[in-house]
Symmetry: C2
Subunit: 429 residues, 2 copies
């Protein structure tokens, strides 16, 4: 953990070091991944059975066994605690409502010159959703990835989840059921991405692949990009908390550690106008670590990547936030609105003292799949837009062609594209 103060001479150097901190350990897996993809393309279902036996320590009896049945999903839901199913349902309902509110409208523009111009939104036909299995099985992530696709109108949502030693997480199946996933397959790793992109006899190909995964999954997404669309490849998670002197340091400490407990590469940063608050949070983090089940991971993340920055005022604080462009931003000041309005770059913001980031991770409604590693400067969280695409259109009467055609002919000739020019002038002639 580093402490910085904008009043210190060494501040800029320290802040730049924080910005440039390499938090990701990239494993070189491109050759392994391209051979797995080639195997699946050549071998189809047989390759999937073989690869699953090799990597997931269980061998499906046949290709049909790769698909999770309705009966298995029902049985899994029956094993879930009713209060968890209720919590899933509350979360799903709220996520649906927020994403439906994002749905864009078509544009139609009548032109005084006699043309009509339009933009029409439509959904993708089929989406593949990757869900990590084993220890890091997150039902909340299933809701956050599948619901925007369903709200966008995607008719087919195929999900792949690895089942190491054949084990499936009941709550993940329940979340997939609630979110409207249409097919579930027990396949993981690069082979799942290859099957979704290229298709096999059992798995029809999709048009876009989304969802988190390990280095193999990320590299496979990179390699199938172009054949299908992909979502952004997420880096380690991060939070910036802005807090004034009026806040409760124990709450801030727990918010910082909630981020840090994800993994050792996560980053938690406090920016405060108060030296006392800086000291109090530093102590509160140490206190909280004494009782936290994931203290090993959270403590390591805090030691390696944590930071507390004291700023002179919130104008200065806002400028630092824009340079950090954090994935998550908590604004715990007495009047968060004006400060939020001043900040340009953040994936998701949490305003006020009653709004810990964990609320947004699960049930508030906005998506928890967000741009990491300063990419909020140009990227956005997952939304219905990721599952929609646009077709623009032009309709012209002869009058419209006569009005603007000659300008197009002049520009086409200037660019040396005569057939372009003639396709218009022939119609005018």
């Amino acid at each position: 953990m580093i402490r910085l103060n904008t009043a210190d001479a060494g501040f800029e150097a320290g802040f730049l070091a924080l910005l440039d901190q390499a938090r990701e350990t990239t494993t070189k897996v491109d050759a392994a991944v391209s051979s797995i993809i080639a195997e699946v393309r050549a071998g189809g279902d047989a390759a999937l059975l073989d690869l699953t036996g090799r990597f997931d320590r269980w061998t499906p009896a046949d290709a049909a066994a790769l698909r999770v049945t309705e009966a298995e999903i029902d049985a899994a839901r029956a094993r879930c605690a009713p209060e968890l199913l209720d919590a899933l349902d509350l979360a799903a309902t709220r996520i649906e409502r927020f994403h439906a509110a994002q749905l864009p409208r078509d544009v139609e523009l009548d032109d005084p010159l006699g043309l009509t111009l339009g933009l029409r939104w439509g959904s993708i036909d089929a989406v593949g959703l990757y869900v990590p299995g084993g220890k890091a099985a997150y039902p909340s992530s299933v809701l956050m990835n599948a619901i925007p696709a369903r709200v966008a109108g995607v008719p087919r949502i195929a999900m792949c989840v690895p089942t190491p030693d054949g084990v499936l997480n009941d709550l993940v199946l329940a979340a997939a059921h609630r979110a409207g996933v249409t097919e579930i397959f027990r396949i993981g790793g690069a082979q799942a991405i290859a099957a979704l992109a290229w298709g096999t006899a059992t798995i029809a190909p999709v048009d876009r692949v989304a969802g988190p995964g390990n280095a193999y999954v990320a590299e496979a997404k990179r390699q199938v990009f172009g054949r299908v669309g992909i979502d952004s490849i997420a880096g380690p998670s991060e939070v910036v908390v802005l807090a004034d002197a009026s806040q409760n340091p124990a709450l801030i400490a727990m918010d910082l550690l909630a981020q840090a407990e994800h993994d050792e590469s996560a980053q938690s940063i406090l920016i405060t106008t108060s030296h006392q608050m800086a000291n109090a949070v530093e102590h509160a983090v140490q206190d909280a670590l004494l009782t936290l089940p994931r203290a090993g991971i959270a403590g390591e993340s805090w030691r390696r990547h944590g930071a507390i920055i004291v700023v002179h005022d919130w104008e200065e604080g806002a400028r630092l936030v824009d340079r950090l462009a954090p994935e998550h931003l908590e604004i715990m000041v007495s009047e968060p609105g004006p400060l939020f309005a001043r900040i340009r770059h953040a994936g998701a913001a949490f305003l006020g003292a009653h709004c810990p980031e964990a609320l947004g991770d699960y049930v508030a409604g906005p998506n928890h799949v967000l741009p990491t590693g300063r990419t909020a400067r140009f990227a956005s969280g997952l939304s219905v837009y990721d599952f929609l695409k646009r077709t623009t259109w032009i309709s012209a009467e002869r009058r419209g062609l006569e009005a603007i055609g000659p300008a197009a002919v002049a520009l086409a000739e200037a660019e040396g594209l005569s057939a372009h020019a003639r396709s218009i002038s022939l119609r005018l002639g």
Copy 2:
């Protein structure tokens, strides 16, 4: 050129061959590009001068000479024919109007449980626009790339254009001026992309890079992706023309050749319900090739990748269009509306007999940067959305936290993330 008929036994095999046709010749340039990027990161402006001397056959006197001055832009505009400046201005005005109509609105959702949820749109701070130089200098492309960024509100738009042998295209400079480009640099290739992404003393880094380029530029964009956002990497251009028996075959032929004249990898496909029309267009293409200045390129594209497909009815035709998901789609039938409504996948559509695709390339208003190679299944043309990003936000009163907090605690505990759970339960306690 191949002729297919859905009534023939071999149709599906022939159509699949058409779908799988590899039209792109990819050059392997990744090692060369990564060494150029490393040079620019290490050497800054000095590396840019050196690389420009090596690749563009002219050596700028110093780093300041890399930037095109206001006086040079004014002089270039003065040398342009007034009717071309007028055509550029008409095009720019119409592109501005269509893109402004796309601007999305913020979402704010008041929640009966005592939370407010929102989605706020904001522009990217700085965009880098790559423009090819030399022979393939397209002023229309400058308008199509820069105007959406300006309409989105991007304050800084830096353009890089190579000037082989020091030569700059006057109309490209005029287009940049009209489109609101804020800085122009005489730099091309992978070194331009590296400078835009990493910055040098002369060129401040940007947050997103857009614009077409050769294999080096495309590979450089791939390599800087993550540090900055990039646009999609365009493949060869394509058009599908749907035409019924009532159309003029000479116009259809010229529309097919307008696509084909771009380069030998371009693809033009006619789908028609009429055998007579199929024959007439085939002959009209041969006739038109006799007088076309770019007949060499257009003829080669038509021979290699052209196709004429006769279908039984438009229901069948629409299904084929969705499988092709073409970049451009002309619907030349007597009532184009219902047929367009039936089709799901196309980058841009041109409805009716008076609407050649070239109109959209230059002056109609919608963007001409469109998804190629069947990616219209999941991707869209360039728009204001490429230069905007979203921040979602949550604001909760204590009442809101009490209403939904317990569900979040239950899910966090189920996922084994105790600090997440505690960050909420501490506030409820």
